[in-house]
């Protein structure tokens, strides 16, 4: 008799996996490989020169700086929003809950022109902020605002389910044992929430780095000041500098891959933590 190792009896494994791999290769893997192959037209020195010109360096600083800042803001306000949505009931809660996904559903170009209209000198918020010396539209601050807008759902939607699972009793127990609210938050809630919050942060960060549509309208796109890296790629393409565009793209791709790996690592870590605690 053959071994009694449990065998999977369901059909379709070869077909479904084969189709998955074929489609994945055609649409994603081979085209991405093309980018890496294209850069081999450069020598290493040429490649390094293209990706480190002052204008490109300035765009990295803006893109990664603004994306990081936006992700930090989102981690804070996203946690707050998720907290309010899970712990309290108030009229219109369903509506707010649905509205959280708006930045995800709203096309980025629409978000871009809408934010510009709101924050420009004669817009609803711009006309209040600008006399007080805060210029948002057409400055790096505008980039942060746009990236915060598009990144918000990611933090809320990763933190919310974990908060729902965390029972209010744990917090009440901590309170009855004499912990004040801040201690409860720091010692009881935050440790449980940490992996989800980090994952949401990383997702918002990854999304913000690559974002193009919503940013270009509000940024003003001044070289060295408010020009993001994806725009540099577009500009190089319009000048038919395909190799240069690809070189900058490869730098961004490598960073995105690293971020994606860390997100998956975080999710693995959090699922392990959850299964240990249970």
């Amino acid at each position: 008799m053959a071994s009694h190792k449990q065998k999977n009896v369901l059909p379709g494994f070869n077909l479904s996996l084969g189709y998955t791999l074929l489609y994945l290769s055609l649409i994603v893997l081979i085209p991405l490989a093309a980018a890496f192959i294209k850069t081999t037209e450069f020598t290493l020195a040429e490649f390094w020169h293209v990706v480190t010109t002052p204008r490109v360096i300035a765009s990295y600083k803006l893109t990664f700086g603004a994306a990081f800042l936006a992700a930090v803001i989102n981690a804070f306000f996203g946690l707050l929003t998720a907290w309010v949505l899970t712990r309290y009931t108030f009229p219109g809660k369903k509506l707010v809950d649905a509205l959280v996904d708006l930045p995800f559903a709203l096309p980025t170009a629409v978000a871009g022109i809408a934010l510009t209209a709101v924050y420009s000198a004669n817009g609803w918020l711009g006309s209040i902020l600008e006399p007080n010396g805060i210029k948002v539209a057409f400055t790096p601050l505008g980039v942060v605002v746009a990236l915060t807008f598009i990144g918000l759902p990611f933090v809320v939607r990763t933190v919310q389910p974990v908060l729902e699972d965390l029972e209010a009793e744990t917090e009440e127990a901590a309170a009855s044992l004499g912990a004040n609210r801040w201690q409860t938050f720091r010692r009881v809630i935050l440790p449980a929430l940490w992996p989800a919050l980090l994952t949401g942060f990383a997702l918002a960060f990854a999304r913000a780095i690559g974002e193009y549509g919503s940013v270009i309208f509000i940024a003003g796109n001044m070289p060295m000041v408010s020009e993001i890296t994806p725009l540099i790629i577009i500009t190089k393409l319009e000048q038919y500098d395909y190799t240069g565009a690809t070189a900058v793209a490869v730098v961004m791709l490598v960073i995105s891959f690293l971020l994606l790996l860390s997100i998956n690592g975080l999710q693995w870590w959090s699922s392990r933590r959850n299964s240990v605690s249970r």
Binding site: N8, V9, L10, P11, G12, S16, L17, Y19, T20, Y23, L24, I27, V28, L29, I30, P31, L32, A34, A35, F77, L80, K94, A98, V100, L102, A105, L106, P107, T108, A109, V110, I113, A114, L115, A117, V118, G123, W124, L125, L152, A206, R207, I209, G210, E211, Y212, G213, P230, I233, I234, L237, Y242, T246, A249, M252, L259, L260, L261, N264, W268
Partner: protein, 260 residues
């Protein structure tokens, strides 16, 4: 916080109607706008079924079977999410563009991919690639495979199992993925902007049409077209809430059924 989200949305509709309702309608029925709407619908109509079939196939393989390299495969499916849309457009230019791998072959055969509809469809497929698969994989993993195995024992074929057992079980998750994919497909800007060439009336999708009008300082028309897209986003959110409510109800119903 909800103000931060709500104000831009309100701004779209106010700006769109600023010059009156007639200007608003005029901006939407103008031939270039109509052709942009048509192209957007075509791109979504092609990319959606393709990603749907892929999503179901990938989820079937990943959720129902154990194999080596599974977590690598899941990471690879997530890849398009982490890649900037601009880069998504760029890679297709590198392959199908004039100087690209197939550039000369395409010219010899009088075919156009870049600056034409196939390029736009490809870019749209790329950016919406993970959504349905990501929605289905955890759902199908949670549901396990007992029901499918029962179907097999009772003599159902593979396709019958898929059609009568698996698909009804995952219908809400599937619908949710479809709606997300559709919203992204119709609204994609960065990737499509790289491959489209911005030819008015020919290769302009709705978001690109918004950009052109906006850069021509034709704000009323730009916001009018943008309001259509914003409306689409609101429908998406409404459907999503409805699906969550429905799937919550059916989950409760099945809990109740198993209690009894």
């Amino acid at each position: 916080m909800s103000l931060f989200l709500f104000i831009p949305l309100a701004a779209v509709f106010t700006e769109a109607l600023r010059k009156g309702f007639e200007t608003y309608i005029a901006a939407l029925v103008e031939p270039d706008a109509l052709s942009a709407i048509k192209l957007t619908l075509i791109a979504a109509a092609i990319s959606l079924p393709l990603n749907l079939v892929f999503g179901v196939a990938a989820a079937w393989a990943i959720a129902k079977f154990e194999f080596k390299g599974k977590s690598i495969l899941i990471t690879l499916i997530d890849l398009p999410f982490a890649v900037s849309p601009v880069i998504a457009g760029l890679i297709y230019v590198l392959i199908f563009g004039l100087q690209g791998w197939f550039g000369e072959w395409l010219i010899d055969h009088d075919l156009k991919v870049i600056f034409a509809i196939p390029g736009i469809v490809l870019a749209t497929i790329f950016v919406t690639f993970p959504f349905i698969a990501r929605e289905l994989i955890p759902l199908m993993q949670a549901q396990g495979k007992e029901e499918e195995e029962a179907g097999l024992v009772l003599g159902a074929s593979g396709w019958q199992i898929l059609w009568h057992i698996t698909l009804p079980n995952i219908k809400w998750g599937l619908l949710y993925g479809v709606i997300l994919t559709n919203a992204r497909a119709m609204g994609e800007f960065g990737a499509v902007s790289v491959v489209s060439g911005h030819i008015r009336g020919l290769t302009n999708t709705m978001p690109l049409h918004v950009e052109i009008l906006y850069n021509e300082y034709n704000y009323a028309a730009a916001f009018a077209v943008a309001s259509l897209l914003a409306f689409l986003a609101l429908i998406t959110l409404g459907l999503k809430s409805y699906i969550e409510w429905q799937s919550g109800r059916s989950a409760k119903a099945s809990e109740k059924a198993s209690d009894e």
